[in-house]
């Protein structure tokens, strides 16, 4: 085999090997949020809230069906829509930031770090990982309800996004205040969009 042929074959194979490499994505903070739901007054209603500030990154290798996800949430950005204390001493959001719940002064972030992404067909189906909240790390599995990769319609930048859900028990993290009046189970709903780096 001549040297020219080897070079030509290598050059032809190069784009394939590049496209098979893992792709890195940075989470778009303006379109990625962590929402939560919790029982209120022993299940009278299901209260919803969200964290307004989320950042992170994920890696996807579609060919090898592997990847990873890291998300950091600013706990001080928690909101349930009740942030005006009015005639009360404090609002609910202020209470959620206090040591009774998220203790944001001492633990300003909550993180999720994946340990394994399980693919279902060509797309991720679930993400196993660890949630760290209030200094305690516990395993959790996030089920991916939808996942899609495509160029952004306007900017044409490659992006991936989807929705994931999971459940944690807040008492596992030492957040025991108000149980059972305020539910122990915290349902998480995560919407993520990320641009390819």
């Amino acid at each position: 085999m001549s040297t020219k042929l080897v070079i030509a074959l290598a050059a032809a194979a190069l784009p394939l090997s590049v496209s098979a490499a893992p792709d890195n994505y940075t989470i778009d903070p303006y379109h990625s949020y962590v929402h939560f739901e919790v029982d209120h007054i022993g299940g009278l209603s299901r209260m919803r809230g969200r964290f307004d500030k989320t950042a992170g990154k994920f890696v996807l290798d579609q060919a090898a069906k592997t990847g990873s996800l890291e998300v950091t949430v600013q706990t001080s950005s928690v909101t349930t829509g009740d942030n005006d204390k009015g005639s009360r001493p404090r609002s609910r959001d202020e209470h959620l930031r206090a040591p009774d719940f998220f203790n944001v002064a001492e633990f300003p972030t909550m993180t999720f770090k994946s340990t394994k992404i399980v693919f279902k067909g060509d797309n991720p189906g679930s993400i196993e990982g660890d949630v760290t909240l209030l200094g305690v790390t516990k395993p959790v599995t996030l089920n991916i309800e939808r996942w899609r990769c495509m160029p952004h319609p306007q900017s044409k930048r490659d992006m991936c996004g989807g929705n994931a859900t999971g459940v944690v028990k807040r008492s596992d993290f030492g957040m025991k205040f108000g149980i059972p009046s305020v539910g122990d189970e915290l349902a998480l709903f995560i919407e993520i969009e990320g641009y390819k780096d």
Binding site: P89, R90, E94, H95, R97, A98, P99, D100, N103, A105, E106, P108, L134, G135, V136, G174, K176, F177, G178
Partner: protein
């Protein structure tokens, strides 16, 4: 129940059982431990600021017993305890303070250290030998700190404070019913000044209690030193002194409400 009735009952039992051996002051720590058991449990990992407060609260009566039975109370001893308390406050909140801007570190760190040191030093110097005054100071400091903490958005700290008030109330009630003062000593005054001081500082640093409210809370034991009629009976002294402390506590709570 968690912060009031159960701690009061446990405190009352401890006071009745141990007052004859000069350890009735343990009533306040027993009440505090009861609230901790119901509210958060005895978990100490990770060692958060709140858990440091609980640890220090449990260590305080041990130090108190050692002081009461091993040393003669002196001004130097009171000063040493005050310095220890101020340092303990900084140790408790330092990891949190280090995440703040320098101006807040000085303000909140300074207020926490000064308030806790003052309460402990004052209690040891002026209240340890006066069980009725010490009980009234504990009642006012506990309830005042507890209510102020609730107004500052921390019900957990609120329950801890109210439990300390309940324990002090039990300590005071037995003296009122017996008609003669009991024994406070460092066993009672150290935890009953240290824990509310730390809880108030925690409500300032971790929740939303204004710093000036913490300083007013620190003055509650001064209210218990105000004069009472010389011939007043123990129950009359207890009520009057408690009312003095409630006035100071009320000012602190008013400031917390309107912050």
């Amino acid at each position: 129940m968690q912060g009031g009735v159960a701690p009061f009952v446990v405190g009352l039992v401890v006071m009745l059982l141990l007052q004859s051996v000069r350890l009735g002051g343990l009533a306040v720590v027993a009440a505090f431990a009861t609230a901790v058991y119901f509210v958060a449990g005895f978990t100490f990992s990770p060692l958060t600021a709140t858990r440091k407060i609980i640890l220090l609260g449990f260590a305080a009566p041990v130090i108190g017993i050692a002081v009461d039975f091993g040393f003669k109370g002196t001004r130097a001893g009171a000063l040493m305890l005050a310095i220890f308390a101020g340092a303990a406050a900084l140790w408790t909140f330092w990891p949190v303070l280090m995440q703040r801007e320098m101006a807040q570190v000085w303000l909140f760190g300074g207020v926490a250290a000064v308030a806790v040191a003052f309460m402990v030093g004052f209690g040891q110097m002026f209240l340890a030998d006066h069980a009725v005054r010490a009980g009234a100071a504990g009642l006012g400091a506990g309830l005042g700190t507890g209510i102020a903490a609730i107004l500052a958005a921390s019900a957990t700290y609120g329950l801890y404070g109210i439990a300390l008030g309940a324990g002090s109330g039990a300590f005071l009630l037995v003296q009122m019913l017996r008609g003669k003062p009991g024994t406070a000593g460092t066993t009672f005054t150290l935890p009953v000044m240290l824990i509310p001081g730390l809880v108030a500082a925690g409500a300032m640093i971790l929740a939303q209690l204004p710093w000036y409210s913490v300083l007013v809370l620190a003055l509650i034991p001064v209210g218990a030193l105000l004069p009472v009629p010389a011939r007043a009976r123990v129950w009359q002294q207890a009520i009057l002194l408690s009312l003095y402390t409630f006035v100071v506590a009320g000012i602190a709570c008013y400031l917390a409400w309107h912050s």
